[in-house]
Protein backbone atom coordinates (compact mmCIF):
# COMPACT_ATOMS: atom_id res chain seq x y z
CA UNK A 1 0.00 0.00 0.00
CA UNK A 2 1.47 3.39 -0.96
CA UNK A 3 1.04 6.07 1.63
CA UNK A 4 0.31 9.75 0.93
CA UNK A 5 2.09 10.60 4.19
CA UNK A 6 5.75 11.63 4.30
CA UNK A 7 8.21 10.90 7.09
CA UNK A 8 10.73 13.78 7.15
CA UNK A 9 13.15 12.37 9.75
CA UNK A 10 13.56 9.03 11.54
CA UNK A 11 13.24 10.85 14.89
CA UNK A 12 9.81 12.28 14.02
CA UNK A 13 6.54 11.25 15.68
CA UNK A 14 4.45 12.96 12.98
CA UNK A 15 3.88 12.34 9.27
CA UNK A 16 2.95 15.02 6.69
CA UNK A 17 0.14 14.65 4.12
CA UNK A 18 1.46 15.11 0.58
CA UNK A 19 -2.10 15.51 -0.74
CA UNK A 20 -5.58 15.96 0.73
CA UNK A 21 -6.57 12.59 2.25
CA UNK A 22 -10.25 11.87 2.86
CA UNK A 23 -11.80 10.68 6.11
CA UNK A 24 -12.33 6.92 6.11
CA UNK A 25 -9.21 6.27 4.04
CA UNK A 26 -7.19 3.27 5.20
CA UNK A 27 -3.55 4.14 5.38
CA UNK A 28 -0.46 2.15 6.26
CA UNK A 29 1.73 3.53 9.04
CA UNK A 30 4.82 1.34 9.17
CA UNK A 31 2.92 -1.93 8.81
CA UNK A 32 -0.15 -0.97 10.84
CA UNK A 33 -3.36 -0.14 8.99
CA UNK A 34 -5.17 2.91 10.36
CA UNK A 35 -8.51 4.34 9.21
CA UNK A 36 -8.54 8.15 9.20
CA UNK A 37 -11.35 9.61 11.32
CA UNK A 38 -11.12 13.03 9.65
CA UNK A 39 -10.06 14.64 6.39
CA UNK A 40 -6.37 15.54 6.48
CA UNK A 41 -5.61 18.52 4.18
CA UNK A 42 -2.39 18.82 2.18
CA UNK A 43 0.65 19.50 4.42
CA UNK A 44 -1.20 18.82 7.67
CA UNK A 45 0.22 16.26 10.12
CA UNK A 46 -0.91 12.98 11.68
CA UNK A 47 0.64 11.05 14.58
CA UNK A 48 3.14 8.41 13.44
CA UNK A 49 2.60 6.60 16.73
CA UNK A 50 0.69 7.23 19.96
CA UNK A 51 1.89 10.49 21.57
CA UNK A 52 1.39 11.05 25.32
CA UNK A 53 0.20 14.34 26.82
CA UNK A 54 3.29 16.45 27.57
CA UNK A 55 5.46 14.62 25.03
CA UNK A 56 7.62 16.62 22.62
CA UNK A 57 6.34 16.60 19.04
CA UNK A 58 9.10 16.22 16.44
CA UNK A 59 9.16 17.13 12.74
CA UNK A 60 12.33 17.48 10.58
CA UNK A 61 13.93 15.68 13.57
CA UNK A 62 13.42 18.84 15.64
CA UNK A 63 10.97 19.83 18.39
CA UNK A 64 7.94 21.73 17.05
CA UNK A 65 5.91 21.82 20.27
CA UNK A 66 4.41 19.84 23.13
CA UNK A 67 1.29 17.62 23.08
CA UNK A 68 -1.52 19.15 25.18
CA UNK A 69 -3.52 15.90 25.06
CA UNK A 70 -2.91 12.23 24.32
CA UNK A 71 -2.81 11.80 20.52
CA UNK A 72 -3.55 8.39 18.98
CA UNK A 73 -1.63 6.99 16.03
CA UNK A 74 -3.14 8.35 12.80
CA UNK A 75 -4.88 11.26 14.54
CA UNK A 76 -4.64 14.84 13.20
CA UNK A 77 -1.83 16.69 15.03
CA UNK A 78 -2.43 20.44 15.06
CA UNK A 79 -3.29 23.54 17.11
CA UNK A 80 -6.03 21.66 19.03
CA UNK A 81 -3.62 19.15 20.56
CA UNK A 82 -0.11 20.67 20.51
CA UNK A 83 1.25 24.01 21.74
CA UNK A 84 4.39 26.07 21.09
CA UNK A 85 7.21 26.04 23.64
CA UNK A 86 7.69 29.75 22.72
CA UNK A 87 4.67 31.93 21.81
CA UNK A 88 1.01 30.83 21.53
CA UNK A 89 -0.37 30.15 18.05
CA UNK A 90 -3.02 32.51 16.73
CA UNK A 91 -5.77 30.99 14.60
CA UNK A 92 -9.14 32.37 13.42
CA UNK A 93 -12.59 30.84 13.71
CA UNK A 94 -14.66 30.23 10.60
CA UNK A 95 -18.05 31.98 10.29
CA UNK A 96 -19.70 28.86 11.73
CA UNK A 97 -17.51 29.01 14.84
CA UNK A 98 -15.21 26.15 13.89
CA UNK A 99 -11.49 26.62 14.26
CA UNK A 100 -10.45 27.28 10.66
CA UNK A 101 -7.06 25.68 11.24
CA UNK A 102 -8.61 22.35 12.18
CA UNK A 103 -10.63 22.07 9.00
CA UNK A 104 -10.35 18.30 9.20
CA UNK A 105 -13.47 18.58 11.35
CA UNK A 106 -15.37 19.46 8.18
CA UNK A 107 -14.84 15.95 6.91
CA UNK A 108 -16.20 14.48 10.14
CA UNK A 109 -19.44 16.44 10.03
Amino acid sequence: MTTPFLLLSDEDNVLVAMRHVKAGSSIDIEGITVSLALDIPLAHKIARRDIAEGETVRKYGMPIGVATAAIAQGEHVHVHNIRSAYTPTYALQDADGRDSAVNAKVGAA
Binding site: M18, R19, L42, A43, G65, T87, Y90
Partner: protein, 401 residues
Protein backbone atom coordinates in the same frame (compact mmCIF):
# COMPACT_ATOMS: atom_id res chain seq x y z
CA UNK B 1 29.16 34.97 -19.40
CA UNK B 2 25.97 35.71 -17.60
CA UNK B 3 24.66 38.24 -20.11
CA UNK B 4 23.97 40.68 -17.28
CA UNK B 5 24.66 44.29 -18.27
CA UNK B 6 24.54 46.36 -15.10
CA UNK B 7 23.84 50.07 -14.75
CA UNK B 8 27.11 51.51 -13.42
CA UNK B 9 26.75 53.98 -10.53
CA UNK B 10 29.38 56.47 -9.34
CA UNK B 11 30.18 54.42 -6.21
CA UNK B 12 31.11 51.46 -8.44
CA UNK B 13 28.03 49.42 -7.59
CA UNK B 14 25.95 48.08 -10.45
CA UNK B 15 22.17 47.95 -10.75
CA UNK B 16 19.92 45.56 -12.69
CA UNK B 17 17.18 48.17 -13.10
CA UNK B 18 17.25 51.93 -13.75
CA UNK B 19 14.36 53.32 -11.75
CA UNK B 20 13.30 56.91 -11.06
CA UNK B 21 11.78 56.98 -7.57
CA UNK B 22 9.26 59.51 -6.30
CA UNK B 23 9.29 59.47 -2.49
CA UNK B 24 6.75 61.15 -0.23
CA UNK B 25 8.28 62.17 3.09
CA UNK B 26 5.05 62.10 5.10
CA UNK B 27 1.60 60.63 4.39
CA UNK B 28 0.34 64.18 3.78
CA UNK B 29 2.46 64.24 0.59
CA UNK B 30 1.48 60.74 -0.58
CA UNK B 31 -1.37 61.88 -2.86
CA UNK B 32 0.77 64.37 -4.75
CA UNK B 33 3.60 61.84 -5.16
CA UNK B 34 1.13 59.20 -6.33
CA UNK B 35 -0.29 61.63 -8.93
CA UNK B 36 3.20 62.40 -10.24
CA UNK B 37 3.97 58.68 -10.69
CA UNK B 38 0.58 58.11 -12.38
CA UNK B 39 1.77 60.30 -15.24
CA UNK B 40 4.29 57.66 -16.31
CA UNK B 41 2.44 54.35 -16.77
CA UNK B 42 4.91 53.07 -19.36
CA UNK B 43 8.16 54.20 -17.71
CA UNK B 44 10.11 52.81 -14.75
CA UNK B 45 8.90 55.49 -12.30
CA UNK B 46 8.05 54.13 -8.85
CA UNK B 47 6.36 55.42 -5.72
CA UNK B 48 7.98 54.94 -2.30
CA UNK B 49 7.57 56.87 0.91
CA UNK B 50 7.51 57.19 4.67
CA UNK B 51 4.14 57.98 6.28
CA UNK B 52 5.19 59.30 9.70
CA UNK B 53 5.50 62.92 10.80
CA UNK B 54 7.81 62.17 13.76
CA UNK B 55 11.57 61.89 13.18
CA UNK B 56 13.23 58.45 13.17
CA UNK B 57 16.89 57.77 12.41
CA UNK B 58 16.16 54.27 11.09
CA UNK B 59 13.55 55.51 8.58
CA UNK B 60 15.79 58.41 7.54
CA UNK B 61 18.78 56.10 6.95
CA UNK B 62 16.63 53.51 5.15
CA UNK B 63 15.23 56.14 2.79
CA UNK B 64 18.73 57.40 1.99
CA UNK B 65 20.03 53.85 1.38
CA UNK B 66 17.06 53.01 -0.85
CA UNK B 67 17.35 56.20 -2.92
CA UNK B 68 21.05 55.44 -3.51
CA UNK B 69 20.40 51.73 -4.26
CA UNK B 70 22.14 50.58 -7.46
CA UNK B 71 18.75 49.88 -9.12
CA UNK B 72 17.82 53.57 -8.67
CA UNK B 73 18.90 56.20 -11.19
CA UNK B 74 17.27 59.36 -9.80
CA UNK B 75 15.06 60.48 -6.91
CA UNK B 76 12.36 63.10 -6.42
CA UNK B 77 11.35 63.88 -2.82
CA UNK B 78 7.87 65.26 -2.18
CA UNK B 79 7.56 67.08 1.14
CA UNK B 80 4.49 68.72 2.59
CA UNK B 81 6.82 71.16 4.32
CA UNK B 82 6.20 70.84 8.04
CA UNK B 83 7.03 67.14 8.64
CA UNK B 84 10.09 66.17 10.70
CA UNK B 85 11.83 64.05 8.04
CA UNK B 86 15.23 65.65 7.29
CA UNK B 87 14.84 66.36 3.57
CA UNK B 88 18.02 68.44 3.41
CA UNK B 89 20.12 65.52 4.66
CA UNK B 90 18.37 63.03 2.35
CA UNK B 91 18.76 65.30 -0.68
CA UNK B 92 22.46 65.74 0.05
CA UNK B 93 22.93 61.96 0.41
CA UNK B 94 21.45 61.37 -3.06
CA UNK B 95 23.29 64.32 -4.63
CA UNK B 96 26.59 63.09 -3.18
CA UNK B 97 25.96 59.70 -4.86
CA UNK B 98 26.00 61.47 -8.24
CA UNK B 99 22.30 60.91 -8.97
CA UNK B 100 19.85 63.54 -10.19
CA UNK B 101 17.75 64.58 -7.16
CA UNK B 102 15.10 67.21 -6.49
CA UNK B 103 13.01 68.09 -3.47
CA UNK B 104 9.63 69.77 -3.88
CA UNK B 105 7.74 71.27 -0.95
CA UNK B 106 4.00 71.37 -1.52
CA UNK B 107 3.47 74.31 0.87
CA UNK B 108 5.97 76.38 -1.16
CA UNK B 109 4.94 75.15 -4.60
CA UNK B 110 1.38 76.36 -4.86
CA UNK B 111 -0.34 73.20 -3.66
CA UNK B 112 -1.46 69.95 -5.23
CA UNK B 113 -1.94 70.81 -8.90
CA UNK B 114 1.19 72.85 -9.44
CA UNK B 115 3.39 70.43 -7.49
CA UNK B 116 2.08 67.53 -9.60
CA UNK B 117 2.85 69.49 -12.80
CA UNK B 118 6.34 70.49 -11.60
CA UNK B 119 7.02 66.96 -10.40
CA UNK B 120 6.07 65.42 -13.74
CA UNK B 121 8.26 67.92 -15.58
CA UNK B 122 11.21 67.00 -13.38
CA UNK B 123 10.62 63.26 -13.79
CA UNK B 124 10.53 63.65 -17.61
CA UNK B 125 13.94 65.28 -17.46
CA UNK B 126 15.29 62.67 -15.03
CA UNK B 127 14.12 59.79 -17.27
CA UNK B 128 16.01 61.31 -20.20
CA UNK B 129 19.10 61.73 -18.04
CA UNK B 130 19.15 58.22 -16.55
CA UNK B 131 18.58 56.71 -20.01
CA UNK B 132 22.21 57.60 -20.68
CA UNK B 133 23.53 55.57 -17.72
CA UNK B 134 26.59 53.53 -18.70
CA UNK B 135 25.98 49.75 -19.04
CA UNK B 136 28.76 47.36 -18.09
CA UNK B 137 29.08 43.56 -17.77
CA UNK B 138 28.08 42.33 -14.33
CA UNK B 139 29.18 39.07 -12.70
CA UNK B 140 27.05 36.84 -10.47
CA UNK B 141 29.52 37.69 -7.69
CA UNK B 142 28.34 41.32 -7.88
CA UNK B 143 24.73 40.37 -7.11
CA UNK B 144 23.04 40.66 -3.71
CA UNK B 145 19.98 38.41 -3.38
CA UNK B 146 17.51 38.34 -0.51
CA UNK B 147 15.03 35.65 0.44
CA UNK B 148 11.83 35.73 2.46
CA UNK B 149 8.79 33.55 2.86
CA UNK B 150 5.26 34.84 3.22
CA UNK B 151 1.87 33.23 3.36
CA UNK B 152 3.66 30.08 4.49
CA UNK B 153 1.92 26.74 4.91
CA UNK B 154 2.96 23.18 5.61
CA UNK B 155 4.32 22.75 2.07
CA UNK B 156 6.71 25.73 2.34
CA UNK B 157 9.28 23.91 4.45
CA UNK B 158 9.19 20.78 2.29
CA UNK B 159 9.37 22.19 -1.25
CA UNK B 160 9.69 25.95 -1.78
CA UNK B 161 12.04 26.89 1.04
CA UNK B 162 14.53 24.01 0.58
CA UNK B 163 14.53 24.69 -3.19
CA UNK B 164 15.32 28.37 -2.49
CA UNK B 165 18.08 27.08 -0.18
CA UNK B 166 19.56 25.01 -3.03
CA UNK B 167 19.52 28.14 -5.25
CA UNK B 168 21.25 30.09 -2.46
CA UNK B 169 23.95 27.39 -2.22
CA UNK B 170 24.61 27.69 -5.97
CA UNK B 171 24.69 31.51 -5.83
CA UNK B 172 26.96 31.64 -2.76
CA UNK B 173 29.33 29.17 -4.49
CA UNK B 174 29.49 31.62 -7.43
CA UNK B 175 30.43 34.46 -5.09
CA UNK B 176 27.09 36.25 -4.71
CA UNK B 177 25.99 37.75 -1.40
CA UNK B 178 22.78 36.14 -0.15
CA UNK B 179 20.65 37.47 2.72
CA UNK B 180 18.09 35.54 4.75
CA UNK B 181 16.15 37.19 7.56
CA UNK B 182 13.31 37.38 10.04
CA UNK B 183 14.94 36.24 13.26
CA UNK B 184 11.40 35.93 14.69
CA UNK B 185 10.94 33.02 12.27
CA UNK B 186 14.17 31.33 13.33
CA UNK B 187 12.93 30.70 16.86
CA UNK B 188 13.74 27.08 17.64
CA UNK B 189 16.53 26.97 15.02
CA UNK B 190 19.13 29.00 16.94
CA UNK B 191 21.42 26.10 17.84
CA UNK B 192 21.50 24.39 14.43
CA UNK B 193 22.05 27.81 12.83
CA UNK B 194 24.85 28.79 15.22
CA UNK B 195 26.76 25.62 14.21
CA UNK B 196 27.11 27.09 10.70
CA UNK B 197 28.69 30.39 11.81
CA UNK B 198 32.11 31.32 10.40
CA UNK B 199 33.47 31.98 13.92
CA UNK B 200 32.42 31.09 17.50
CA UNK B 201 31.92 34.80 18.24
CA UNK B 202 29.54 35.12 15.28
CA UNK B 203 27.71 32.01 16.55
CA UNK B 204 27.07 33.86 19.82
CA UNK B 205 25.73 36.87 17.90
CA UNK B 206 23.39 34.62 15.87
CA UNK B 207 22.03 32.99 19.05
CA UNK B 208 21.62 36.40 20.71
CA UNK B 209 19.67 37.77 17.72
CA UNK B 210 17.13 34.94 17.94
CA UNK B 211 16.89 35.28 21.74
CA UNK B 212 16.17 39.00 21.25
CA UNK B 213 13.43 38.15 18.74
CA UNK B 214 11.87 35.58 21.10
CA UNK B 215 11.77 38.18 23.92
CA UNK B 216 10.39 40.88 21.66
CA UNK B 217 7.55 38.77 20.25
CA UNK B 218 6.81 37.35 23.70
CA UNK B 219 6.26 40.90 25.00
CA UNK B 220 3.95 41.63 22.08
CA UNK B 221 1.97 38.46 22.77
CA UNK B 222 2.01 37.16 19.19
CA UNK B 223 4.69 35.26 17.31
CA UNK B 224 5.57 35.97 13.69
CA UNK B 225 2.70 33.70 12.74
CA UNK B 226 -0.50 34.57 10.86
CA UNK B 227 -3.85 32.82 11.17
CA UNK B 228 -3.48 31.50 7.62
CA UNK B 229 -0.26 29.69 8.56
CA UNK B 230 -2.34 27.50 10.89
CA UNK B 231 -5.02 26.91 8.26
CA UNK B 232 -2.20 25.70 6.02
CA UNK B 233 -1.12 23.06 8.52
CA UNK B 234 1.53 24.84 10.57
CA UNK B 235 0.84 24.39 14.28
CA UNK B 236 3.51 26.43 16.09
CA UNK B 237 6.09 29.17 15.48
CA UNK B 238 8.93 26.65 15.85
CA UNK B 239 7.40 24.45 13.14
CA UNK B 240 7.10 27.50 10.85
CA UNK B 241 10.67 28.50 11.76
CA UNK B 242 12.17 25.13 10.85
CA UNK B 243 10.48 25.37 7.45
CA UNK B 244 11.64 28.96 6.98
CA UNK B 245 15.21 28.26 8.11
CA UNK B 246 15.94 25.91 5.19
CA UNK B 247 15.72 28.88 2.79
CA UNK B 248 19.25 29.63 3.98
CA UNK B 249 20.62 26.47 2.32
CA UNK B 250 23.74 24.75 3.64
CA UNK B 251 26.46 27.38 3.19
CA UNK B 252 28.58 28.67 6.03
CA UNK B 253 27.10 31.83 7.59
CA UNK B 254 29.54 34.68 6.89
CA UNK B 255 27.97 37.43 8.94
CA UNK B 256 25.08 39.09 10.72
CA UNK B 257 23.80 42.41 9.35
CA UNK B 258 21.03 44.84 10.23
CA UNK B 259 18.74 46.67 7.77
CA UNK B 260 20.83 49.04 5.65
CA UNK B 261 24.16 47.25 6.22
CA UNK B 262 25.48 46.15 2.81
CA UNK B 263 27.26 42.74 2.83
CA UNK B 264 30.99 43.50 2.47
CA UNK B 265 31.64 40.53 0.15
CA UNK B 266 30.04 37.36 -1.18
CA UNK B 267 28.64 34.78 1.21
CA UNK B 268 25.56 34.08 3.29
CA UNK B 269 24.30 36.69 5.77
CA UNK B 270 21.55 36.69 8.38
CA UNK B 271 19.67 39.99 8.68
CA UNK B 272 18.58 40.84 12.23
CA UNK B 273 15.29 42.68 11.70
CA UNK B 274 14.13 42.92 15.32
CA UNK B 275 14.66 46.38 16.90
CA UNK B 276 17.14 46.88 19.73
CA UNK B 277 16.23 48.22 23.13
CA UNK B 278 12.84 48.19 24.79
CA UNK B 279 9.76 47.21 22.77
CA UNK B 280 8.37 50.28 21.01
CA UNK B 281 6.58 51.19 17.74
CA UNK B 282 4.79 47.81 17.59
CA UNK B 283 5.60 44.67 15.58
CA UNK B 284 9.08 44.50 14.03
CA UNK B 285 7.76 44.09 10.50
CA UNK B 286 4.05 44.62 10.04
CA UNK B 287 3.90 42.54 6.84
CA UNK B 288 6.13 40.89 4.22
CA UNK B 289 6.97 43.99 2.18
CA UNK B 290 8.58 45.69 5.19
CA UNK B 291 11.10 42.82 5.22
CA UNK B 292 11.71 43.05 1.48
CA UNK B 293 12.35 46.81 1.79
CA UNK B 294 14.95 46.17 4.51
CA UNK B 295 16.87 43.74 2.30
CA UNK B 296 16.72 46.28 -0.54
CA UNK B 297 18.19 48.89 1.82
CA UNK B 298 21.03 46.41 2.33
CA UNK B 299 21.58 46.37 -1.42
CA UNK B 300 19.47 43.39 -2.56
CA UNK B 301 19.10 43.53 -6.35
CA UNK B 302 16.24 41.03 -6.24
CA UNK B 303 14.33 38.91 -3.76
CA UNK B 304 13.26 35.25 -3.73
CA UNK B 305 9.80 35.06 -2.14
CA UNK B 306 8.53 31.60 -1.17
CA UNK B 307 4.80 31.25 -0.59
CA UNK B 308 2.45 28.38 0.18
CA UNK B 309 -0.91 30.06 0.81
CA UNK B 310 -0.28 32.34 -2.17
CA UNK B 311 1.12 35.87 -1.83
CA UNK B 312 0.83 38.03 -4.96
CA UNK B 313 3.10 40.93 -3.92
CA UNK B 314 6.11 42.32 -5.72
CA UNK B 315 8.21 45.28 -4.58
CA UNK B 316 9.38 48.71 -5.53
CA UNK B 317 13.08 49.05 -6.54
CA UNK B 318 14.06 45.35 -6.80
CA UNK B 319 12.19 42.56 -8.63
CA UNK B 320 10.59 39.72 -6.65
CA UNK B 321 10.74 36.11 -7.89
CA UNK B 322 7.78 34.20 -6.50
CA UNK B 323 8.29 30.54 -5.70
CA UNK B 324 5.08 28.63 -4.97
CA UNK B 325 5.53 25.70 -2.60
CA UNK B 326 1.96 24.39 -2.76
CA UNK B 327 0.82 22.68 -5.99
CA UNK B 328 -2.87 23.54 -5.42
CA UNK B 329 -2.01 27.21 -4.86
CA UNK B 330 0.16 27.19 -7.98
CA UNK B 331 -2.74 25.99 -10.12
CA UNK B 332 -5.00 28.64 -8.57
CA UNK B 333 -2.55 31.58 -8.84
CA UNK B 334 -0.22 30.57 -11.69
CA UNK B 335 -0.36 34.05 -13.29
CA UNK B 336 1.36 35.40 -10.16
CA UNK B 337 3.95 32.66 -9.65
CA UNK B 338 7.37 32.43 -11.31
CA UNK B 339 8.37 28.96 -10.10
CA UNK B 340 6.23 25.89 -9.32
CA UNK B 341 8.01 24.23 -6.41
CA UNK B 342 4.76 22.34 -5.79
CA UNK B 343 6.10 19.93 -8.41
CA UNK B 344 8.37 18.61 -5.63
CA UNK B 345 5.30 17.76 -3.51
CA UNK B 346 3.69 15.97 -6.45
CA UNK B 347 6.91 14.13 -7.29
CA UNK B 348 7.30 15.55 -10.81
CA UNK B 349 10.50 17.51 -10.08
CA UNK B 350 13.40 17.12 -7.66
CA UNK B 351 14.54 19.67 -5.10
CA UNK B 352 17.79 20.12 -7.04
CA UNK B 353 15.95 20.66 -10.35
CA UNK B 354 13.78 23.40 -8.86
CA UNK B 355 16.80 24.92 -7.09
CA UNK B 356 18.61 25.09 -10.43
CA UNK B 357 15.50 26.61 -12.07
CA UNK B 358 15.43 29.36 -9.40
CA UNK B 359 19.16 30.02 -9.85
CA UNK B 360 18.79 30.32 -13.62
CA UNK B 361 15.80 32.64 -13.23
CA UNK B 362 17.84 34.90 -10.91
CA UNK B 363 20.41 35.32 -13.71
CA UNK B 364 17.70 35.91 -16.34
CA UNK B 365 15.92 38.52 -14.18
CA UNK B 366 19.24 40.23 -13.45
CA UNK B 367 19.76 40.35 -17.22
CA UNK B 368 16.45 42.17 -17.67
CA UNK B 369 13.67 39.54 -17.83
CA UNK B 370 10.59 40.75 -15.93
CA UNK B 371 9.21 38.67 -13.08
CA UNK B 372 5.46 37.95 -12.94
CA UNK B 373 4.81 40.55 -10.23
CA UNK B 374 6.96 43.11 -12.06
CA UNK B 375 5.04 42.61 -15.32
CA UNK B 376 1.73 42.88 -13.45
CA UNK B 377 2.87 46.23 -12.03
CA UNK B 378 3.24 45.25 -8.37
CA UNK B 379 5.44 47.87 -6.65
CA UNK B 380 4.61 47.46 -2.94
CA UNK B 381 6.62 49.44 -0.39
CA UNK B 382 6.40 49.77 3.42
CA UNK B 383 8.67 51.78 5.70
CA UNK B 384 7.81 52.24 9.38
CA UNK B 385 9.42 53.22 12.69
CA UNK B 386 12.23 51.18 14.32
CA UNK B 387 15.30 51.61 16.51
CA UNK B 388 18.60 49.80 15.97
CA UNK B 389 22.04 49.82 17.57
CA UNK B 390 24.99 49.31 15.18
CA UNK B 391 26.17 45.70 14.71
CA UNK B 392 28.97 44.49 16.98
CA UNK B 393 32.55 43.74 15.86
CA UNK B 394 31.96 39.94 15.84
CA UNK B 395 29.15 40.23 13.27
CA UNK B 396 31.33 40.54 10.17
CA UNK B 397 34.43 38.48 11.00
CA UNK B 398 35.91 38.34 7.50
CA UNK B 399 35.75 42.05 6.79
CA UNK B 400 37.17 42.79 10.22
CA UNK B 401 40.15 40.51 9.55
Amino acid sequence: MTGIMGYLRQDGRKGIRNTVVVAYLVECANFVATKIVAGFPDDDVQLIGFPGCFPNEYAQAMMEKICTHPNVGAALFISLGCESFDKVRATKAVADSGRPVKTMVIQKSGGTRSTVDMGRDWVRGALAEVAGTKRVPMAVSELIIGTICGGSDGTSGISGNPAAGKAFDLLVAEGAACIFEETGELIGCEEIMAERAATPELADELRASVAKAARYYDTLGYGSFAAGNATGGLSTIEEKSLGAYVKSGDSKISGLIKPGDVPPSGGLYLMDVVPDGEVRFGFPNISDNAEIVEMIASGAHLTLFVTGRGSVVGSAISPVIKICANPDTYRNLSDDMDVNAGAIIEGTASLMEVGQEIHDLVIAVAAGQQTKSEALGHREFILTYKTFDPIGPACLPRSAA
